[in-house]
Assembly symmetry: D3
Homo-oligomer: 276 residues x 6
């Protein structure tokens, strides 16, 4: 493969992906709204760009085979603030991709597109959207956009609904929702190397005993995670108080986003870093 | 009911709805981006407003029980042009409704949220979205938004996926997709008078022999259309050439929108008025 | 047909059924825990009996072709009080029927076997039980019992999940749930005259515009209701206040039973007669 | 439409269809293995042909727009005898149709492709095949063949699974399964005049109260039957003995075919004419 | 966790569970209708009690966090005999649990709630009940009761449909249905330590190659069995005669219960100990 | 087991199966249209026979317990040529099996019965047929035939839809579709040693990461493949050009058969040996 474009390259997940992606192509173009991503791989270049600006984005995709679109505002914020990077940003990526004949977009979708389902329902890739926040709504929008570009323009896309991508599981929810760094790399790699994907939705979660999703309809992608949050279960459960069953943040797939006020960051309120 | 707000009051469908809505409430507030809607009912007031502007919209909903949201740009246009009225406009309506304690939004969704399904598939309200245009994508966005406001804020909504709302069926597609004026009034009326709707999606189509949808999952709304496009079948079929089976505009639910180029009006190209 | 046994013959529904049943057989044996059912048809006999007592029930079924089992305590009461008539009573009927070679039991099941489903979900005969009361739980028990006797003993049964069987619809819920007397007679008649029924579950509801159920999987029974509660809609809706969406009694299929305390009659509390 | 070819023109159903089909096209070519079909319409020609012989069939389809393929051996017979007309015959029709650029085949499929389903299961067009005889197996074969020609060659087809096509319902089974002559004409007409059908399967049954099938997934075809076997119910049921529940001929959709020995005509044994 | 109550503590499965449960809480209260359970753990107390007597049961649950309800009559017996311990017993447990504010009941349900499904159908937790015996009917009753207490009272429950819980697989059926002691402990442990379970149904079966169930909808519970009956396959299959395909005891999930006469113990007849 | 008959014994798969089958029975009768299968096992006999000739086939099945039916013309050829061995051949096997009281047929069905499904759809055993060739159509025919003999005659069968049975995966498609020799032996062995199979359909594919099918509904068969084509992925993907998304041979389950012209061998055109 000649060229891959990675958006959100300075983010937590972008940092993990840069090396593996550089190894898969002749040229990796990394971009972010940040000024820098630090040291570059030999075949990597970096361009600062604002996803919300078509003029920033369009030139980057020239000659690209695929785009790995992980750039976004990663939190719940007021609708007015998320519109640019997460909605218009997606449009800019797909429209530019179409104009340049890019073959495929691999997108960091999120569990928050489905966050209002009760945890006791095992969710599949083809159930209807139930977003929990504007952040999740932007994921729904982008998945529908991606499906339309596939059906109308033949532009493939893989939408990885990431659950909790962190270095290690940090709470009881993550015993089910953890996505380890290695498994993140695997699912992105398979989303790239599978010859035919059409429009595919898949959950990005590790091989946790308590994984609350069912990816069997996306088995053609060959994603077989290896890590298991259960290794941390004894320790985590010892610190977990009984659940308040009236708290949607504990009973729904979306976790704290499910109970959050629309437009207000649940993570900021809790003083913890975002996890997906 | 004290107050209903009708957006898009100057549109083709808004004109049909103003009288029946005025009869259902103490006060009908009609609004449109146009300057006027002509003669007003005794209990009707008109305010010109731009859906894309929160400052225009917010004050209108004060004291309202329900909003009948039919205002939108009704055609396929470039994404940049449809964003304001059809995406931000929906956000402005729901956000204002929440702020003012409005109970319910009745929304003019569209078959174009599902337009890429083949016509030989009978579509139901709970199948995944397959939009055919940016116009349809805005409907998907609004449905997901409405579901989220129901699940997070308790704000009810009914999403009527209108097929072909015209005075009479005009072509072979409309033998299945026609929504007569009387049936339009009925479905909107039931969406208002049903005591509990939660989040409901329903197709707005008449009792056509060839109706290509299955509304059985929304039977609680009590919509039972009376008109039947089959009355026009002999005449219309006599003028219908054999279908080109490679034309998505003939084989998909979305009709001309399904085969249209994204961002380009299929109706303008064909010199015919829009029908849904 | 030689002999039909009708239980609950003195109840509101039993009274409606006695005449039509007498016309379908040589001998109608009516029974109830009450002392009398009033004037008898020419081919009708009455025997007072307690469903909870096998010795009362067993002799009645001798020589019967079918049992129309409508006898039960028709209200929510403490579990200890409902066990005898509604649980043991069902066992006594099926066990006696098997012993006497009766071909079929037609049973008055109830919406309350499914009462906790939200009203916005159209329920079908084969979805899992979600009882709303001990009363509803007895219906679930009897349906499972009936299925077992069919699969193990070849004893057929039809389980009619009655919604609101009253002379006319009395409130907004009944606009969807009303079962008219004529339609009650029809569904029972079809449950009897259909040559093969195996184990069949069907909703007993009129042809209401707002009927919230889907009987299509039981079409072999040929039940086509004629009456429509919509005839009363204007009058009823005029007296219906906006729904409190936190009231399960308004948002669930079971109506007042869904919000009732287990073991406590919701109807007694409201001072209204029971309707199903 | 210029030319329609009707096979099986001398059969019971062919006789009913000849007139209506002649009225829909410039030229009707009727064919049968019989020597004659009697008087011809003005625009009708007749050619005797053996479906099992490609050389007989191929020339007939030249210039045809559609084929209405009702020719077949209509009974259960040994496999060796049914192979020619019902299997090879179908192949000859579809292969010739493809060679001549025919647009569509309308096929007389049968309930016997699904005959082993219990009558208490409402069957839909997309459930898996469960044939009851070699006769039914030939229908399964032809449906799969038709789907393949649609997906590989773009040759459309409608497969009408006829239940009991007789002048009036003759027994208790027919209270559900009757297809009246008028409704037969309607379903065939709609299969022809619907502009896009792709690969469509639909049950051919009248608007009987006890209709045991669910055609809702084929609503795009616009088939709305008018006749109802229930008009004959009182008379028929009076003559119907209680069902033997061990008799598959009474408990399965296929009727006498379901209990028949493979390769042996159930109708000959019973001395009654075939009904579907 | 402060206190767990274990019913059926003297039974085969209770014996296996006592140690692991004692290790999960400050206080384990074991109870059984037997006089004793032998030596007690340091934090364990034993109280003899009859499940059918509310006065016996109610006091035991005071202060409990969870109840592990494994007590029941474990065999098919006449309905009159099973009513007390298995029906009323379940009611007594749930009603007492509600009165004392217990958070959750973990219940030993059984494959016999689903025993009449053919073995060639992979059963899931949400298919309708098909009980094979009164024993199985009591499991259906309790599951429906548990769902109602969850939906009405917020009392959580996990219903483990145990297949064949024995020390090692004893016959060909058990190659699919075996639940090893270690896996029994795992599934009960997960049913306790999972923070949110709502109303969950899951099959209790080991990781057998031939496991005939599909637990994917209950993956949130994190049950991942380790043992595999296939280790015993060569030996067992060598002693297995060809199956009599007319024997429901061989062709249905319920095994000998499926072919048993209602109310008569199939195990007593066969001289073998019960296995589930 | 006394006697197994293996058809297609000289074919690529037959060669692999002869040894393991000989070890499972007293007498293995191997047959093929070829003159010889080479050296025979001690308990093996060989008889040359033409599947299309009943007189050849019938005597072979005398006294057999099971037939492993792998004989067929393994390629796409004109319908006239495939009819004898693949259609009539199946009939001859099942009809002879019935006549001789054989218990079960294990059949080499194929992915080509489902070949027109898009690769991005995970196919299950009970989805409707979508054959890609006459070769695939013969598999559909045989599966329907097998179901009918099970439902009418009690003759069991297992239909193994083989994907790509080769010594090692040879191309990108095979990363999902490979069936290793060892896994082939396992699935056939389980199809034989499972005591009750009724009518079972299962996909024959190894434990590939990218396996595109879902066998969970056939778990009762206990097939747990061990090999994984992913071991060859790096090497194969390095040689795989980007997919032409308009090539049905790349986007559909059937591979080259999906894009082939009906009646013309895709493998001959490509100069590669057939793989399934």
């Amino acid at each position: 493969m000649k060229k891959i474009v990675l958006t959100g390259a300075a983010g937590n997940l972008g940092k993990i992906l840069r090396g593996p992606l550089a190894a898969m192509c002749d040229e990796l173009l990394s971009t972010d709204i940040s000024e820098s991503v630090g040291d570059l791989a030999a075949n990597e270049t970096f361009v600062q760009a604002d996803l919300a600006k078509m003029d920033d984005i369009r030139p980057l995709l020239e000659g690209a085979d695929m785009v790995v679109h992980f750039g976004a505002l990663v939190d719940e914020v007021p609708f007015e603030d998320i519109w640019g990077p997460n909605f218009v940003g997606s449009y800019n990526i797909w429209q530019s991709a179409k104009e340049h004949g890019v073959h495929r977009v691999v997108y960091a979708s999120s569990i928050h597109a489905m966050g209002m389902y009760p945890k006791t329902v095992a969710i599949t890739p083809d159930m209807p959207h139930r977003p929990d926040t504007y952040y999740g709504l932007a994921k729904c929008f982008t998945e529908d956009l991606g499906r339309m570009f596939w059906e109308k323009e033949g532009l493939e896309s893989v939408h990885i609904r990431i659950l909790s991508a962190t270095s290690r599981p940090g709470n009881a929810r993550a015993l089910g929702s953890w996505l380890s760094p290695d498994d993140l790399v695997q699912v992105v790699t398979r989303a790239i190397d599978t010859p035919v994907v059409g429009f595919t939705v898949i959950y990005g979660v590790s091989n946790n005993d308590r994984s609350p999703v069912d990816n069997s309809s996306a088995s053609h992608l060959g994603y077989r995670p290896k890590d298991n949050a259960e290794d941390y279960a004894v320790e985590i459960l010892a610190d977990t108080p009984p659940a308040d069953l009236n708290d949607l943040g504990l009973t729904c797939h979306g976790g704290p986003f499910a109970s959050a006020t629309l437009g207000v960051s649940p993570m900021a309120l809790m003083g913890i870093p975002d996890d997906d």
